[in-house]
Subunit: 502 residues, 2 copies
């Protein structure tokens, strides 16, 4: 890890490529609901999902809700989908479940998210899925090329604007279905989980409650968690196999040692079958870091990545003796698959989603994720705000505002402050998800509820259910739906008490 710090991209979604984008001398990492890099993850785009009940719509959205300059009045088409099959109707004030999109296209969200369709029939709910501005088809300025061009166009991509978009669409949907009093529950995962929680805090008159899955809401400059992201990555590897953990721990020095030899980078390139020549040992190290981190973040059935990679690293093949880097490479093959060559920059492609997310990471979603001093299997390199800011400046010409998120959303002091003004939020976290270190892990009040599972991975609870789900996952989801049900019941009682039609 020659890099001074890491920008963790919240891989919120879709299932095929990581968001690791080199940013000057640093990297951006991952948030998301499922991995895009690991070889056998079910991929949203190929998975068979019955979407016949879904209808697609486009909403004429305001570019800038918070100024009134002539430019702010520009509009763009925001995509959203509705499934009304199971809805109980306006007369019954039947609920609305709304999935708030994150840094991903609506298509991949629709493929991966199961919470709405798995629970819609039971709750007689209208199901709404909304695409986040600047992702998928939802592009201001007429095209992705224009929207993602520079800071002048990207400037309108941020959480506050996205939340105001959601507010406008949800009010529009209520009007469209002539239902004044249907309670809305918003759901999101990872960065989208933060949006869901923030939406409940900022628009409680629109959302009755929120399910914030794997949302690292406290992973900001003013509320840094005691243990960092890589602490959990390491812990999960160590618990899976002490030997595997030690092999990885020792590999970084070995990589540097080989790189330091004459022709060292060529040797490394051959060892790891890289498609392109290496610029430095950091190319390999970043690549390995990313796949280990993703292996933990999405460590779940049918692929238990950490077991897979550790089995490969620990194995003794019959015909030859493995050296240390052979073992590490065997781990790569286990995670990424057998390929003719390996693109160490596969996480860093300048796709539309990656560009948009890097912008968000460089403007307000500044998560101070680094290789902290705690016992991790990575060389120490704590997050460095100064170089992070410098990287963003040189990349986008814009200075991050690392205190803005806590200034605007302000959940710094959970017990003293949030407990007093917040309500109806479920913070769900798998404790084996590295992002859980930045999550709300304890109940704050009767209606600010933390639901954690020891073995849960990133956003697992809101993905499609399956017959192979372990019992603890079934129980977790059942708990969540019961809490949501209780919010809805209380609300319906309030309606009755106020003599409003139920």
């Amino acid at each position: 890890m020659s890099l001074p710090y890491t920008i963790l991209i919240l891989f919120i979604f879709s299932t095929s490529s990581s968001y690791l984008i080199p940013l000057a001398h640093s990297k951006i990492a991952r948030l998301g609901i499922s991995s895009k890099t690991l070889k056998n993850e079910p991929d949203g785009s190929t998975q068979k999902v019955d979407e016949s009940d879904l209808k697609m719509y486009y909403f004429n959205q305001t570019l800038d809700h918070f100024t009134f300059t002539p430019e702010s009045y520009m509009t763009f088409q925001q995509r959203y989908a509705i499934d009304s099959t199971h809805w109980g109707g306006a007369k019954a004030n039947a609920p609305i479940l709304a999935f708030l999109g994150e840094e991903s296209s609506l298509d991949s969200d629709l493929a991966a998210i199961g919470f709405l369709r798995d629970n819609g029939p039971r709750l007689n709910a209208l199901l709404v899925y909304i695409e986040h501005r600047y992702y998928g088809e939802t592009m201001p300025f007429g095209s992705a090329e224009e929207a993602l061009k520079n800071a002048s166009t990207l400037g309108y991509l941020n959480a506050a604007q996205a939340l105001a978009d959601y507010a406008a669409i949800l009010l529009h949907v209520k009007e469209k279905y002539s239902t004044n009093h249907s309670p809305i529950i918003v759901i999101g995962g990872s960065y989208g989980g933060m949006l869901a929680a923030w939406f409940r805090l900022k628009y409680p008159h629109i959302a009755l409650g929120a399910l914030a899955s794997s949302a690292p809401l406290l992973y900001f400059e003013d509320t840094r968690p005691k243990f960092g992201y890589y602490y959990i990555v390491t812990k999960v590897f160590k618990e899976a196999s002490e030997r595997c953990y030690n092999t990885i721990r020792n590999s970084w020095k070995e990589i540097d040692r080989v790189a330091g030899k004459p022709n060292g980078l060529s040797i490394l390139s051959k060892q790891f079958k890289t498609c392109d020549p290496l610029n430095g040992s950091f190319d390999i190290k970043d690549f390995l870091d990313t796949i280990y981190a993703e292996a933990v973040q999405y460590n779940r059935g049918p692929n238990f990545w950490v077991a897979k990679v550790c089995n490969a690293i620990n194995a003794n093949p019959p015909n030859r003796r493995y050296n240390l880097l052979d073992r590490i490479f065997a781990g790569v093959v286990a995670l990424v698959g057998n390929r003719t060559c390996y693109d160490t920059k596969m996480f860093a492609q300048p796709t539309n989603n990656n560009i948009a997310w890097r912008w968000q990471s460089c403007s307000e979603i500044v998560m101070p994720v680094g290789y902290d001093k705690q016992d991790t299997m990575f060389p120490t390199a704590p997050f460095n705000m100064t170089s992070y800011i410098d990287g963003c400046k040189s990349y986008h010409g814009v200075t991050p505002r690392p205190h803005w998120i806590t200034t605007y959303f302000g959940i710094q002091e959970v017990k003293l402050i949030l407990q007093k003004f917040g309500s109806n939020i479920i913070f769900s976290n798998g404790l084996s998800d590295p992002y859980s270190v930045g999550g709300v892990l304890e109940d704050i009040s009767d209606t600010l509820v933390a639901i954690t599972t020891k073995n849960g991975s990133h956003c697992l609870d809101i993905t499609l259910k399956s017959k192979e789900d372990p019992e603890w996952l079934v129980i977790q989801r059942e708990k969540e739906i019961k809490v949501i049900d209780s919010w809805i019941s209380t609300y319906q009682n309030d309606l009755r008490d106020l003599n409003m039609p139920v």
Copy 2:
């Protein structure tokens, strides 16, 4: 009233000129803490106030908190004042009282507002007064001329940006005084009262509570009050003198009758001693409307305007016989004073404050105030959104967003919704203030408290106290401070329970 509708400008402050600005074929009316037009109102600029304990500061404020375009990073100097004389200090977590400026200069706020200095010593509070962006000296773009030039520069003038300004300054003040846990109570009147309530709802992690004085929070398109502004104006006149009420009621037709004669406008002009020739009878009618409305809005000691104007209207002078319009003119003299001539456009001067406020009225603060069908002493002319929007378009080239305030702040359903997520707000209203029709007049919960007084006028409770204050006013203020005190006590107990330093 030939005019189809009225834009009521919330006269928030200072004490010398009304904000009646002609806007195409309509007019903008008034919000504010004291009248600027009526002849003997104490004027902030001349009133003697001991400000020796106040220190002035300038904060480097971000132009646009909600986008990250290069332009958004422009900054301007925002003026604020601090009085730390009575502050109990950081160790005691002594409270901060923060006055959130409205559409007025800090100077006039400092002169008129008494609530902070009248209660600061008792609460050992730090006193902070902040000037609203685009008013007084707080001008983006380097000068008022630039700032108020057109929609491109005025576009950054709105409530959400102003609240974010206040958040940034209050966090800065806490840092400056090294006090993490001093509770902040925000206070504002009229439009500033709305800001105070909204601030508590949107930044509850920064403000522990809010005193919203005479804030017509429900006077928006989606939450129109049953009775309008002019219903109260009429009611107060009628209760003061049925004869006076009838005279005014009959005067509009008489004005039109005279205007319809050959040379009618000249006759009217002479009758009312206007400085300039009249463009139509509406010049006189708008002028009269405004001074009657202000007479009610600021009807308090030492000047009881309604009694004054009605005494003049009802009087029978010894030497001559009054006709109807003589009586009406006598009322004008009683309110505005004896002048060589009367400027009927005195409310409509394009001062900086007036231009800025008209912009706000034309972008988001769209209050549907009209002459409704209820029994008023004015000819019926209900608010007409279409012509309001047309007026704004032709004036500023910008289309109002009349639903934005309720979308963003959303206190439409007070009992069903606000009761569940809001806390620690005092809504204070004088029921003789025409704006009280749009206020929250009933308790919503134990901590969302309505304090009303039968005879109170606009923002009276937060003005400087005086020995001549009636007992009900003394009691009202005492109630308010007790409620605030209870919030602070509860908070200090919470701090103790959490073992935080108190």
